[in-house]
Symmetry: C2
Subunit: 212 residues, 2 copies
Amino acid sequence: MILDQKDSKFEVNHQCPYMLFHFKDQFPELEPFLEKYRSYQQRLDVGAKTILLEEGKVSGQYVFIEKGCVRLFFNNDGLDKTVQFFFEHEGLTSLESFVGNVPSAFTIETIEPSVIYLLPKKYVIELIDDLSREPQFFKMIMSIFAQRQSHYINEFVSFIRDTPEQRYLKLLTDRPHIIQRVAQHYIASYLGVSTVHLSRIKSKLAKGNAHF
Amino acid sequence: MILDQKDSKFEVNHQCPYMLFHFKDQFPELEPFLEKYRSYQQRLDVGAKTILLEEGKVSGQYVFIEKGCVRLFFNNDGLDKTVQFFFEHEGLTSLESFVGNVPSAFTIETIEPSVIYLLPKKYVIELIDDLSREPQFFKMIMSIFAQRQSHYINEFVSFIRDTPEQRYLKLLTDRPHIIQRVAQHYIASYLGVSTVHLSRIKSKLAKGNAHF
DNA sequence: CAGGAACGATAACATTTGTTATCAAGTTTA
DNA sequence: TAAACTTGATAACAAATGTTATCGTTCCTG
């Protein structure tokens, strides 16, 4: 199944896709501002492998995950390459597409049966406009961006520094829920290795840990 | 030679290290705001391999390159791993360290004789404070962050998608000045391969292009 | 319930990449 | 200027990783 349709334009040059939910978690004092926009969200109860935004389409919705799991990926020579996983209470969109009204380089797809909320872009603009009058707003925006940027730098540095095995171990340590919930071939492409090699890595680690 | 000393605290949770110069290039109407702070910068005329910020130290300066070339790297098991190169009219700092007052994970070092300007953190704070009253400011900040985030996502995705040879070719196409000016072993570590392998890649490409 | 698809393990082999060592040319420095 | 260091190329070998194929299991779907 494929969802998401084009929407109104988004003139302001800001990018803040994670906003609604970071707000909720990190800045509870702004709850009243969010309440109004919750009602504009469209609730979806969908199965696994539902496409929320298709590569090449312009993103017109901000996606919030209430339940389930979603991945961001792109197609390369016919093969999926997963960029990131998202879970309960996280929000996402295809950033460049959402901000710049350009075709998305990525597809967004559920990988579990999920409950999703979509907020059309025009309400995101309205919300930002409302919030920008709040003194706390600037600080929030910065905090959110700092986290995002830090995340991507770390992902990038990990490829320069670590072997695939080390990246797998780090994932196991830092974000074990990903390994528990996500199919292995998605994780392989996220780690930048073939499915066969990830299988080898796991098998090697299992042997090393077998003390019985 | 090693420079940069600790400085005053930086309470505001914003991160915007590239500010002064993006402002200048992209938002010329704000030139008057910047003029004042130019005079607070410390000018340095230094040789190659001058360390502007040492791994483990807290960054207290924002670095602007007037002339020359700088790299951001970290040490991994005794080996340098280069994360990024910076050239004329670019600004940088060790982001997390500058913002969070924590030890820097990276070293900043000139790789050519360079003319550098350093702006102490307290003036950066003051500058942001001044500017935050400007209506254009929010847009600027967002634009700068969007560019940064997009850059790091692309770097990261490139490791998932491309072979080292493809990454080298992309560098050759998109940012040839890097290959022209930067020593090959720095480029190798930036591409995530050994110096020997980068040499092999070049040699293979040279053979493929030899039509004489 | 049956058939097919999706998923993961494994083997065998090919290719890529790393490691170590050597050499030559260019740079820096005492 | 001579010695020492830096840089880059190359060879030989080792290790890591990809590719293709097979198999068994699970899961989905009609």
